[in-house]
């Protein structure tokens, strides 16, 4: 399904397809007209996708069909063995994780998990974890430390779930604990923001030695809608809020919040998952290679220094 700003493209695509069909069935030569239209399509795609506003990128980050954490895990690792449960309360389907091989090396991987359709989204709580999800993530961090395996975190959540049950079970507490647990890892830790990086619920698994972000992903302290509701008193002003929050990959690279942008195929990661996976694989490979020479304490100090330096102020 086309997003609002993609409609002119899909309309032109439909027109071209229609003409192609007519030319084939009728035998009329329309190659001249078609080549003009194809050229126009190319230009239109370029104009649209090279100049995306922050709000349009937010929509791409949420686009139906965008690769989820499980898609990426299956796309870039082999022999994924999913592990379940927090050993305290339940298994949170909004967080997945387990053991896998990345380019032949055993790794531990965790990610927020959205559903691919409405039914699955209800099961996955739209990728919004409860405390048990973060406890599962922390369990897997323990595993990574104990067996000296690199830890890979895939971020894709609108935020941690804001509900009664989550508050009763200490949502704020587990997020803080998860930040602390990840900071203390003595193995290489890489976080990749795949789609939505919604505030503390994202950061809970975002304390990597390196933080990578997909070209059209967003990461901020609040969603554009919630920010608009508070500051503009109007959730409809989300587009303005998205601009003000400077939540795009490029903004975050300039602020030092992320270290590297992973390019997406034109029109977004969902247009060509194969290229998307190849790009993630390449960036992750390089990042893990950079971290390989560091010993356990050096990895901890490297992470400390990375986050210690973030913030802007005047002495």
């Amino acid at each position: 399904m086309a997003l609002e700003f993609e409609k002119p493209i899909s309309e032109l695509e439909a027109k071209i397809a229609e003409l192609e069909g007519f030319a084939a069935s009728s035998g009329v030569d329309l190659s001249g007209e078609l080549s003009v239209l194809r050229e126009r399509l190319l230009r239109l795609k370029g104009d649209t996708f090279d100049n995306l506003s922050r709000w349009e990128r937010v929509q791409l980050a949420r686009a139906p069909g965008r690769p989820t954490s499980l898609d990426v895990i299956n796309g870039i690792t082999s022999d994924f063995l999913e592990l379940s449960g927090d050993r305290a309360y339940s298994d949170d389907a909004a967080v997945v994780g387990g053991l896998a091989y990345f380019e032949g090396e055993p790794v531990v991987v965790v990610g927020h998990q959205k559903g691919r359709d409405t039914k699955e989204n209800i099961l996955r709580n739209f990728g919004m974890p409860h405390p048990e999800g973060y406890r599962k993530a922390m369990r897997l961090m323990d595993l990574a430390d104990r067996f000296a395996r690199p830890f890979i975190a895939l971020i894709d959540t609108p935020g941690a779930y804001p509900g009664i049950s989550a508050e009763e079970r200490g949502q704020a507490w587990v997020i803080a604990q998860s930040i602390q647990r990840m900071a203390r890892l003595r193995v290489p830790a890489v976080a990749i923001i795949l789609g939505e990086g919604g505030s503390g619920g994202a950061l809970a698994i975002g304390v990597g030695n390196r933080v990578l972000i997909m070209e059209n992903a967003w990461y901020s302290v609040i969603s554009p809608e919630s920010c608009a509701a508070i500051l503009w008193r109007e959730a409809k002003e989300a587009a303005k809020a998205a601009e003000a929050l400077k939540l795009s990959a490029k903004d975050l690279l300039e602020l030092g919040v992320v270290d590297r942008i992973i390019p997406e195929p034109g029109g977004g990661a969902h247009r060509d998952p194969k290229i998307t996976f190849a790009n993630i694989k390449y960036a992750l490979h390089q990042t893990l290679s950079e971290l390989k020479p560091l010993g356990p304490e050096a990895l901890f100090e490297d992470r400390y220094r990375r986050f210690r330096g973030l913030g802007r102020f005047q002495e």
Binding site: I179, V221, K246
Partner: protein
């Protein structure tokens, strides 16, 4: 009553600024309290025990040993994102600075608490609802690191609506930065006490405030991750009585003790003495 009504009328006409308010009404029990009595009682209603908001400076006075506090905070905020909503961020900052009479939402420094060498850091709700941006995060981090270097305990008083929106992702990063800094205390076996006051929510609760060695809360303080309004909108149900209040958190195992403000100094001193290295 008549006197109070008189002042209220004059306030409405915009003349009240030079008239000191002598009486304060308790928002919980409606008792009229002589303001000097309220101040002497650390803004706890003498009739019903309701805890009103206490200023950051008063907090410092309440918790630090008399005459021991040396302020170290003073960093100034900037506008790293060029943020503007209905008003540019620098304009808001100027107003907050004028109203709160400090550069950002925190005051802190070295002191002794019950004779234990400490670093005391207090958030200030009067400045942007105590929200945490780069300055608050950096001051907390510097305070914690200096405590680790100088063998001091750390006491942080939280009162905050959460991370500051106008610094967006940089505010979010302060959650990680402050949390990481606390590790410096851990390795040196220095105690950290977190005091949660009304209200403490969002990114402040979900970082340094929640991972202390001992967590104390003032009575009936609103404490949580998501604000009640957000939760209500999400689940479209009324929230149970007492939800996200200190006593609710105590019941659910999230805080160690709910402490009356008038006993807070003694409790903090006791915990510091019990945990601080003995030699």
């Amino acid at each position: 009553m008549a006197l109070e009504r008189l002042f209220r009328r004059r306030r409405a006409q915009g003349e009240a600024r030079d008239v000191p308010e002598l009486w304060v009404k308790c928002p919980k029990c409606d008792a009229q309290i002589y303001k000097k009595d309220l101040e002497a009682n650390w803004y706890v209603c003498p009739k019903c025990g309701h805890h009103m908001r206490l200023s950051a400076d008063k907090r410092v006075e309440l918790l630090s040993d008399t005459g021991s506090f040396q302020q170290t905070t003073g960093l100034k905020p900037i506008d790293p994102l060029n943020f503007s909503d209905t008003e540019p961020y620098p304009k808001r900052l100027e107003r907050y600075q004028r109203e709160a009479k400090r550069p950002d939402a925190i005051v802190g420094g070295r002191c002794t608490i019950g004779s234990v060498p400490s670093v005391l850091l207090v958030m200030d709700y009067a400045f942007a609802g105590g929200s945490m941006g780069s300055v608050v995060g950096e001051e907390l981090t510097r305070g914690i690191e200096s405590a680790a270097n100088e063998n001091r305990g750390v006491v942080i008083v939280s009162v905050s609506g959460g991370a500051r929106m106008q610094e967006a992702a940089l505010s979010l990063m302060q959650m990680a930065k402050t949390t990481l800094a606390l590790d410096r205390l851990w390795v040196k076996r220095l105690p950290y006490i977190s005091i949660l006051t009304d209200p403490t929510t969002g990114g402040v609760t979900a970082s340094f405030a929640a991972i202390a060695d001992v967590i104390l809360a003032e009575p009936e303080a609103l404490i949580g991750f998501a604000g009640p309004r957000v939760i209500k909108q999400t689940i479209r149900q009324d929230l149970p009585e007492g939800f996200q209040r200190s006593e609710f958190l105590l019941k659910h195992g999230m805080v160690d003790k709910v402490v009356d403000r008038r006993q807070l100094k003694d409790t903090v001193s006791d915990v510091l003495k019990l945990l601080y290295p003995r030699d």
